[in-house]
Amino acid sequence: MSSPILKLVAQRIALGILLLLAISVLIFAGTQILPGDVAQAILGQSATPESLANLREQLGLNDPAYVRYFHWLGGVLTGDLGTAMSSGQDIATSIKGRLWNTLFLAFWAAIVAIPLAITLGLIAVRYRNGWVDKLISGLALASTSFPEFFIGYLLVYFFAVKWQIFPAISTVYDGMPFGERMQAIALPATALTLVVLAHMMRMTRAAILNVMQSAYVETAELKGLSAFSVIRKHAFPNAIAPIINVVMLNLAYLIVGVVVVEVIFVYPGMGQYLVDHVTKRDVPVVQAVGLIFAAVYISLNIIADIAAIVANPRLRHPK
């Protein structure tokens, strides 16, 4: 590794941290602007002016906003995400299991979706403008165009109700055997795969087609390489940066954008956790989940940037 790469990578990471801090301010400010009052929400009908005032005092709601922000930030940095107001449970502890479940689901969806999308993209380029290309593009676009809840319910109808292969509700619990766990997430993982497939496949196709015009692709053809070797050996390595970018965006979506799918399959992940607590106006939980989602998004994009830098031979091997 040479110094220009290290410098660029360090820049990206520093920028990412700065961005995350800015987002933490936004999240905090946003939840402050929201109408409603946690104390009121907790006490509900039984609220008296005195009990409201007491609870506010107890929760620190009377401090100025910036004091509460730094208090919160300090906690986050030391791993203390606060206590859920609605249940009184420690947020960090309850999120841990949920985050693990979400990552587990995202991981298996990604393992299937990413290689499949890239392979389909390569095949589409190989047979570009022919019927194979059109079929792949058509199916991929159709699967993306359907709303994810529709795909989810279709899967449930066929695989759970009609043929009874997979469970309709993806209940998972601690200590669940791996095989059962995989069976439980089969349907939500399939739904997620179908949702993200087209985007990555179309982008792979476009990025490779873009470099297919290059003189070095012609050189490769004139060496007698087969059409697929030309794409794989000469076009793909030069299209890698945009492909990584779109893969990372979709990976981020698999983690932070799964709310609907998790709700459909009643899967105990981050999305459901967030939705539950939004309805309860549980501000600390919403803040914590929002911050984690932002961190995931930013880290994946940093990884994409770094991968694009490392994939560039001009930066890897300076003159």
């Binding site: 012609e218 053809e221 390595p237 031979p313």
Partner: protein
């Protein structure tokens, strides 16, 4: 044609080759156009045939047909391509794949673009050899290193470990030649292999290619638009125009006794007689000790440059790429504010930055660029493009504007019918003429011409030069003429500044600059310009006093 081939079967025998393509003109039905009309040629083993002609002559198309390849939807629709005794057009896709990179190899115009930036040079050089299984990797690499040596590349043992961007353009072109030779083919198609190089680099690459062809006994189709270049390497020359054969004969016959009018025009191009004007008493524009840099002063590209331009005269600025020619133009126009020094116009100092100059100063300095098609808005008509300076500088509108536009079109020898055309509907030469008319519309004192003829075919370029000289006589406009082509300089300049690495190394009237004794760099530059003379290359290489920078 070319006698004495009856006693052996030729390596390549192309008979009545017809190549077509489908074009899709906007708003019209697709139509089929014929690019190559029944061209036949034969090539013996170990011989070099030069294919020469202007763009659109079908040179590359014919060259690539020997590999069964058609660029962008081009189809071979008739004739036979007989290579080593068999018609390759009958072999189908697999047949093409087997001969490409094994029997026939290709050297492209721009090696910088033709090498894959993601792979090391060695991997690319031996790729075809390994693919066709003619050698093991170790053998192929050994062969490649021997070829690198033969092509006098620096560090032949290790240059293969480098990536394309780590090697200069002239070196890449030689690596590409090594790549073609590595699989020991019977035929190599050289497609303008030196056109993208500086003139001083071109001569080295040319010599390397010539030696390699001689020592390996490979046959070659050498495609170029430069007759002087092809005369150095070819045994025979075929002149093509609009996809048809014009003339085919031995090299000496073609350049010394051309039989066709068109060949004669190609041979005698560039012979414009231009009487040098004496500099007047006072220059109207003086560049005084200008130093300019990019990257916040980090990369100095102009060092203490001073030149004068006299009314109605032409100062030619010559040098290789990277010598600072275009940067000088950017400093004069204010696009790149100089770090030191100043530009004096009509006795007063011009603002350094473009934003500091009043409209009147902007009007006096106009520019014409190398790439006429990207210098015009593709969605504006010729009338709008030429009329724009009239509106902007003089506020001329309506009928008066249309009258002036028609006058200007007349001056650039294009008729009224062009007013409503779009740039895409013009030829390369016509586009450049429109750019000239646009700069003239502002009635400037100085037009900066930045490589305005470099992208054009020789005959078209010649027409543009003649037009520029005529306009100078009528309009009394001065030119700052930036070019790397010394033949152009001889045809148009009154005074010359030779630039090398950001400095003016030689400056004065044309006759003074082009008269010996020369400094080392000017000598190199002058001696590198190919002359239409058999044996010039060897003489020039022997007589050189300094090595060119591109190596």
């Amino acid at each position: 044609m070319a006698d004495g081939k009856a006693n052996s079967t030729p390596l390549l025998d192309i008979r009545n080759l017809r190549i077509e393509a489908t074009v899709y003109p906007p708003g019209e039905a697709p139509k089929t156009i014929t690019l190559v009309h029944d061209v036949s040629l034969t090539l013996e083993k170990g011989k070099v045939l030069g294919l020469i002609g202007e763009s659109g002559a079908g040179k590359s198309t014919i060259g690539l047909s020997s590999m069964g390849y058609g660029r962008g939807g081009v189809r071979i629709t008739g004739g036979e391509v007989i290579l080593n005794g068999r018609d390759i057009l009958k072999g189908g896709k697999d047949g093409f794949r087997k001969l490409r990179g094994r029997e026939v190899c290709y050297v492209a115009q721009s090696a910088a673009a033709a090498f894959n930036p993601a792979h090391k040079l060695m991997d690319q050089v031996v790729e075809a050899t390994l693919l066709h299984g003619t050698a093991t990797r170790a053998e192929a690499e050994k062969r490649a290193i021997a070829l690198f040596k033969k092509l006098s590349l620096p560090n032949p043992e290790t240059i293969g470990d480098r990536f394309p961007h780590q090697v200069s353009g002239g070196q890449l072109q030689r690596v590409m030649t090594a790549m073609a030779l590595c699989s020991e083919p019977d035929l190599i198609v050289f497609d303008e292999p030196t056109t993208a190089l500086d003139v001083t680099t071109q001569i080295d690459v040319l010599a390397a290619i010539k030696d390699a062809i001689r020592d390996t006994h490979v046959a070659a189709l050498y495609i170029t638009h430069d007759l002087a270049v092809v005369a150095q390497v070819s045994d025979e020359i075929m002149v093509l125009r609009h996809g048809r054969l014009v003339e085919w004969g031995g090299t000496r016959q073609i350049i010394k006794e051309p039989r066709q009018e068109y060949t004669n025009a190609l041979v005698s191009v560039h012979e414009i007689e231009h009487q040098e004007q004496n500099p007047g008493a006072t220059p109207f524009l003086s560049v005084k000790n200008v130093t300019a840099a990019y990257g916040g002063g980090q990369v100095k590209v102009l060092k203490n440059v001073s030149v004068d331009i006299y009314p109605g005269q032409t100062l030619a600025v010559v040098g290789e790429s990277g010598s600072g020619k275009s940067t000088l133009a950017r400093a004069i126009t204010g696009l790149l504010p100089p770090e030191q020094g100043s530009v004096v116009f009509d006795g007063r100092t011009l603002g350094n930055r473009l934003a500091d100059r009043p409209k009147e100063d902007l009007r006096q300095l106009q520019m014409i660029y190398q790439m006429a098609d990207v210098a015009m808005n593709p969605r504006q008509t010729v009338g709008t493009i030429i009329g724009r300076p009239l509106e902007f500088y003089f506020g001329i509108r309506g009928r008066e504007r249309d009258r002036r536009v028609a006058e200007l079109l007349d001056e650039i020898e294009m008729g009224k019918g062009f007013v409503d055309r779009y740039p895409a509907e013009l030829s390369g030469g016509q586009k450049q003429r429109v750019c000239i008319a646009r700069s003239l519309a502002a009635k400037p004192k100085l037009i900066i011409c930045d490589e305005v003829t470099s992208a054009l075919d020789p005959l078209v370029a010649n027409g543009i030069l003649k037009l520029l000289l005529n306009l100078q006589q009528h309009e009394k406009v001065a030119y700052l003429f930036i070019t790397h082509d010394l033949a152009t300089v001889k045809s148009i300049a009154d005074s010359i500044a030779v630039m090398y690495r950001g400095e003016v190394v030689r400056y004065g009237s044309k006759s003074k600059v082009l008269t010996p004794p020369f400094d080392a760099y000017t000598d190199l530059l002058l001696s590198s310009v190919p002359e239409m003379e058999i044996g010039w290359l060897e003489k020039a290489i022997k007589g050189r006093r300094m090595a060119s920078a591109g190596n």
